[in-house]
Symmetry: C2
Subunit: 349 residues, 2 copies
């Protein structure tokens, strides 16, 4: 079999470049990559990725763990699809592939096993659960020094690498926008309390209310499950109290739009709608009628950030020193959120 | 190191089950899987996935190649996200992970290399290009007997395994729905001619027109790029000819909604809109105002079908005999499309 030097000579590049190309490490010009691959093939120097991976204990894969619900069309959820797009973009820029793994609800994921079995070099966990089994699995991962990052879930008291958006401030902005216009009876349709993201929204709502000298009326605090259907259901409650409720803040756009649909189904006209503010600023917000004000969450940028942090961690110094040495305050990184104002929440009278 | 038999005894299962679990082959009950993994770990029998893969030349990964456009938020496109959800579902059911790889536009993809380097056991190609380099790469893949499947692109004269939807019939249905209600001047906003899917839509439009005793007026044939923006641009042409154009058929929902937005921007009221039929039946269709009639494409089911075909091919007999022996007529499989009628295309007068 040909040597690495022969491949380098034929391709007209250095031996180091041959290694970088064949190990998929670092950014490499497409033309250079092609030259090296062609030279390798011409000389019969096509090392098996597995043999190479075996030698250097790297798979070249960035893992992404997603919660799996049969038939749920997971990739179609705005939340996940945007984060995955950002993750994929950074992975691609760094010559890594994306290994998508699904976790069945209720299953305790053996994250450590993914690293021991060398399926991934680093791992992003979406939809982590806030329960004892999950926490123990993540603590083990950290003890063994494997690079991982949790997105959109916060484990208080731990120093896991986490990437999220500032939902406290986003929710505060939404409430302030409403109270500044004189809305007083604001219904808040939150997601399940088990997600830290829901708890943060509630906190932001309370801060916003307090800033306006108000208190959250607990009878106006509703709970959905982040699905459109649960918004339609909440509309039943809201419709009966439309004489008092003058604004609705929903913890995501799907629920806000569900409430709008539910009101419309009950024959309530758009001009009689309360003010609406949603959350996520998904495509649907702009297309809603009336166009929906919404708190923009930079999901794509969050995905890019998480991937970048991990790629640097796994390519950099010994992975074992990375996670454990990160001080808690830099381990968690929050990107800013921004309220986008559209017709649904602008007071006309 | 412990033997497979010891693991089997401790877990209370057969040795074959131990192998199936550790090789990730076939459907396995979660409880059984856990028992085997726990027994393996207890006995220190945790074979490296790479070593195992090396021995059996299987990665356990189902590859998906996607076209990559920087910043394009690819996973957020309805088309891709639904197909990936279907693919992911079948992969998960069969204990396989999904290896997502991105292809830069203009790059000639070395598909064969993915198999030679044992990154994947089978591969799905989305967004294949209809050009010479791509065709040659696919022909090589087939000659070497690697299981692969092309989605949403047709290579005429080849016997590649292909999964697509019946876009000729879908477009015919859309046109017949319009002509049956008496619409005569139908503008057709198609996507780029380089996609076989666009060509099929045009063919369906012509058939539908002919069935109604009409011919497609070439001055009413417009071309966009499947993006919303190109619909907004087409609205400029449509707006100036609204006295003659009484219906618009767009090759996807995003363009149809773009046309609606463009008309609205020009101060044209919904009651003065032409009839609209879109294509894909994405989430956006239902949420549009007026709700958009659209041709439903079973993207999710297409993803499931492609994954199933490949998983059977790669798990079944020697992969080398699978692709090459498929007769052309079964190599290509089309799922039916269905027109969903909503308010946008129902004639009131």
């Amino acid at each position: 079999m040909a040597s690495r030097k022969e491949v380098a000579d034929l391709a007209g590049v250095s031996e180091a470049t041959v290694s970088r190309v064949l190990n998929g490490v670092g950014p490499i010009k497409e033309e250079t990559r092609r030259k090296v691959i062609e030279a390798s093939e011409q000389l019969g120097y096509v090392p098996s990725a597995l043999a190479r991976s075996f030698a250097r204990s790297k798979s070249g894969n960035l893992g992404v763990v997603l919660p799996y619900v049969p038939k749920a069309h997971l990739f179609s959820a705005y939340f996940f699809s945007e984060m995955l797009s950002g993750i994929g973009s950074k992975a691609r820029d760094n010559g890594m592939d994306l290994l998508v793994m699904f976790r069945t609800p209720g299953e305790v994921m053996n994250y450590t096993d993914l690293f021991r079995r060398q399926k991934v070099d680093a791992c992003i966990i979406l939809g982590a659960r806030d329960d004892h089994g999950e926490l123990a699995a993540l603590q083990q991962l950290q003890q063994e020094g494997h690079p991982f990052c949790i997105m959109s879930q916060h484990f208080a008291g731990e120093s896991f690498m986490e990437v999220d958006a500032d939902h406290v401030d986003g929710s505060r902005q939404a409430i302030r926008h409403l109270t500044d216009q004189g809305y007083r009876n604001i219904a808040f349709l939150n997601g399940p309390d088990s997600y830290s993201n829901s708890q943060e929204r509630l906190q932001g709502v309370q801060i916003g209310m307090n800033e306006a000298g108000m208190e959250l009326d607990s009878s106006l605090l509703l709970e959905g499950n982040y699905g459109r259907r649960s918004g339609v259901e909440a509309a039943a409650t809201i419709a009966t109290r439309l004489d008092e409720i003058d604004a609705v803040f929903a913890a995501n756009d799907r629920m806000a739009i569900g409430v709008m649909h539910g009101l419309r189904e009950r024959g309530i006209k758009v001009q009689d709608f309360p003010a609406f503010v949603g959350y996520d600023d998904s495509d649907a917000a702009e297309m809603a009628v009336p166009p929906l004000s919404s708190v923009r969450v930079p999901f794509y940028e969050m995905g890019e950030l998480a991937a970048s942090k991990l790629i640097h961690a796994s390519l950099g110094a010994a992975a074992s020193s990375v996670n454990t040495e990160l001080p808690a305050e830099t381990a968690r990184q929050l990107l800013p959120t921004e309220l986008i104002i559209r017709a649904s929440s602008i007071r006309n009278n």
